[in-house]
């Protein structure tokens, strides 16, 4: 198994490189001059030409955007930032900095990306892990009961709700969760991470986390409910279940040891496969609940075309997905000894 883990980790690296390289190259191909943003940013922050020149390290006189001098300054900056080099050289230079935790600065605000990224990643991990656990919980319970009582009223209601959940866009569901539980009932806050006035202790943060996790967990449970129902139904028809009953085992034992144990184990694979969707979908819930994670940042950066933030969030997302897939695979290898990875 150790060998398996080592090999999986080794495979993960080239994958990461390819994903980030494609994204990096795509963004470099984007129209628009990245250095233009720097001048615009500096100007909107009310810097004098002298300050702009100092900050950007432009030696020639910088008088302002749009003037003739701007062009030569831009050429100088391109040369200095290495934007004239081939993309793969730019990429490896960038990779070298990222490995050291330096994600550069945001194009528009010129703020360092690294520190904010570190905070937002933790937020997104918290949200997605809890929501996934809730989805799995709902999926296993509702799906198993549906299968045990196939064609009952409960089964019909669950399958109806599942169809609705598959079809309703996540953001609409999230908005209604806020309206019902925050505005109408007033049980939970409508958004944010903690009470801004008191600063927020641990329980306060938990309190603010409940609604987004609930919305995201319910929204993601539909697929798992369906999968669990099918899997349990299939297992119930297996020969060894008939044998177990025939040899007089109690129904309770047959269900827990023979049906559920075999039917539910592969759910790990399903969860693993859904990780990219969960992390991508997290953006919607972060935005509706004003819960500032990586997804929200990516969406906002895409809208503002801030490619330096986007490449940072996308790199981190890729790492997150690959890491969690790795964890899922290792767990599966651990709980199901039959699985041999050769």
């Amino acid at each position: 198994m150790t060998q398996y883990i080592i090999r999986r980790v080794l495979v993960a690296f080239p994958m990461l490189i390819v994903i980030t390289y494609i994204n990096f190259a795509l963004m470099r191909l984007a129209p628009g001059d990245p250095t233009l943003f720097m001048f615009v940013t500096a100007e909107t922050q009310g810097m004098t030409p002298q300050q702009v020149r100092d900050q950007l390290g432009v030696q020639e006189a910088y008088k302002g955007r749009g003037e003739d001098e701007g062009t030569s300054n831009r050429d100088f900056l391109h040369e200095r930032l290495g934007l004239n080099d081939p993309i793969h050289i730019q990429y490896f230079r960038w990779l070298g900095r990222v490995v050291q935790g330096d994600f550069g600065r945001a194009m528009r605000t010129a703020e360092l990306i690294g520190p904010e990224l570190a905070v937002r990643v933790r937020v997104t991990i918290r949200l997605t892990v809890l929501a996934t656990l809730l989805s799995v919980g709902i999926g296993v319970v509702a799906g198993s009961l549906s299968a045990l009582y196939q064609y009952s009223a409960f089964d019909n209601i669950v399958s109806f709700i599942t169809y609705i959940l598959i079809s309703v866009p996540g953001f609409l569901l999230a908005t209604w969760v806020i309206i019902i539980f925050a505005i109408r009932l007033g049980w939970f806050p409508a958004g944010g991470m903690y009470n801004a006035r008191t600063g927020g202790d641990f329980w306060d943060r938990v309190y603010y986390l409940i609604l987004p996790v609930m919305a995201m967990g319910i929204s993601g449970s539909a697929g798992l409910i369906r999968w669990t129902r099918t899997s349990v139904l299939e297992t119930m028809r297996a020969d060894y279940v008939t044998v177990a009953r025939a040899k007089g085992l109690k129904e309770r034992i047959v269900r827990s040891r023979h049906i559920f144990r075999n039917a539910l184990l592969p759910i790990l694979t399903i969860v693993g496969r859904s990780i990219p969707f969960v992390i991508g979908g997290s953006a919607f819930f972060e935005i509706v609940f004003n819960y500032p994670g990586v997804g929200m940042w990516t969406a906002k950066a895409a809208e503002a075309k801030d490619f330096s933030i986007m490449i940072a969030t996308i790199t981190v997302t890729a790492v997150l997905v690959i890491l969690s897939n790795l964890i899922v695979d290792i767990c599966y290898c651990w709980v199901d000894p039959r699985v041999t990875y050769s």
């Binding site: 079809s167 866009p169 075309k305 997905v321």
Partner: protein, 301 residues
């Protein structure tokens, strides 16, 4: 069926003569599924009315009426008017053209690419399979929505970018499914038999592989149109979908998806939301019914 089984003891001849064609049997099974029939009717109504939109409504989708802003449903405006006084029903009909077109076109693109990559990978194996599967692995692992955001941020949000991006980003899922299906078909005894008597690859693919693959392709396409329509709504919500004033179901829901509007003016979001949800549910009902009918492994139950 029971009648046929009783007759079976008589003569084998009557049995073969009386039996309806497979297509007719399947069609009858489909009609016995009320959800699927309801789904087909809903989809027909929605599609036909979207196509006939200009002849069904007296209003124009971009026609602004400052006299009638956010008016509830009335005789003039059956589903009320939106934030700038445009007729909601008209915009839903025209929005249906955009949303359905995006759904259908994206699915055709992903299915065609998925079929090509998946069947080449599955049938020939070897180097083609290795590289095909590595591309698939990489594309599946990365969240589609973020790829979409990059592509749209670079090219700009038009309906065409959206459907092309949706199609080109989601084919790996199809490729993976089709590949495993082709792999299992390839090992079937009659394919081996066909190969052993010297049938050409082209003929095997046409006569044996394709017919076995088609049910899966059909079911998959039906379900994925819904996926693409929801994706369009999501991207609209992130501000990079179909840009107003062009209506799509997604951007109509998004424009009303605000804590105050959504509570005060139900007609701004219930009709477009209802049509979108109805469409996706219908497609799922149809897809599930097709799967139950066309996949023999399921028919036993």
């Amino acid at each position: 069926m029971t009648a046929q089984n009783e007759n079976a003891s008589d003569t084998a001849q009557t049995l073969t003569i009386d039996r309806p064609s497979l297509a007719a049997q399947n069609f009858r099974l489909f009609l016995q599924n009320p959800g699927a029939v309801g789904g087909v009717i809903f989809m027909l109504v929605v599609t036909v009315s979207a196509i006939l939109a200009p002849w069904l409504t007296p209003w124009e989708p971009h026609e602004i009426d400052v006299q009638a802003i956010r008016k509830p449903p009335s005789v003039d405006h059956w589903l009320g008017t939106d934030l700038t006084g445009r007729d909601m029903l008209t915009r839903i009909l025209y929005g249906g053209r955009v949303s359905l077109l995006i759904g259908l076109a994206a699915v055709i693109i992903r299915t065609v690419i998925g079929l090509i990559v998946g069947s080449l990978s599955g049938y020939f194996g070897g180097v083609i399979d290795f590289f095909g599967q590595r591309i698939v692995d990489i594309m599946i692992v990365f969240p589609d929505i973020f790829f979409l955001l990059i592509v749209i941020a670079i090219i700009g949000p038009t309906p065409w970018t959206l459907l092309i991006a949706l199609g080109f980003l989601s084919w790996p899922f199809d490729a993976r499914i089709f590949r495993s299906q082709v792999l299992s078909i390839r090992e079937l005894d009659y394919i081996l038999a066909a190969r052993s008597i010297g049938t050409t690859t082209g003929r095997i693919v046409r006569q044996h592989v394709t017919p076995n693959l088609m049910p899966l392709v059909l079911v998959n396409m039906t379900l994925n149109i819904g996926v693409a329509i929801i994706a369009e709504a999501g991207i609209s919500f992130l501000g990079l979908g179909v840009q107003p004033p062009t209506p799509s179901w997604g951007n109509m829901i998004t424009s009303a998806n605000n804590l105050s509007l959504i509570q005060r003016f139900w007609w701004l979001w219930v009709p477009p939301g209802g049509v979108l949800v109805g469409t996706v549910i219908s497609l799922n009902l149809i897809g599930d019914a097709l799967r139950d009918i066309l996949d023999p492994r399921w028919r036993a139950s």
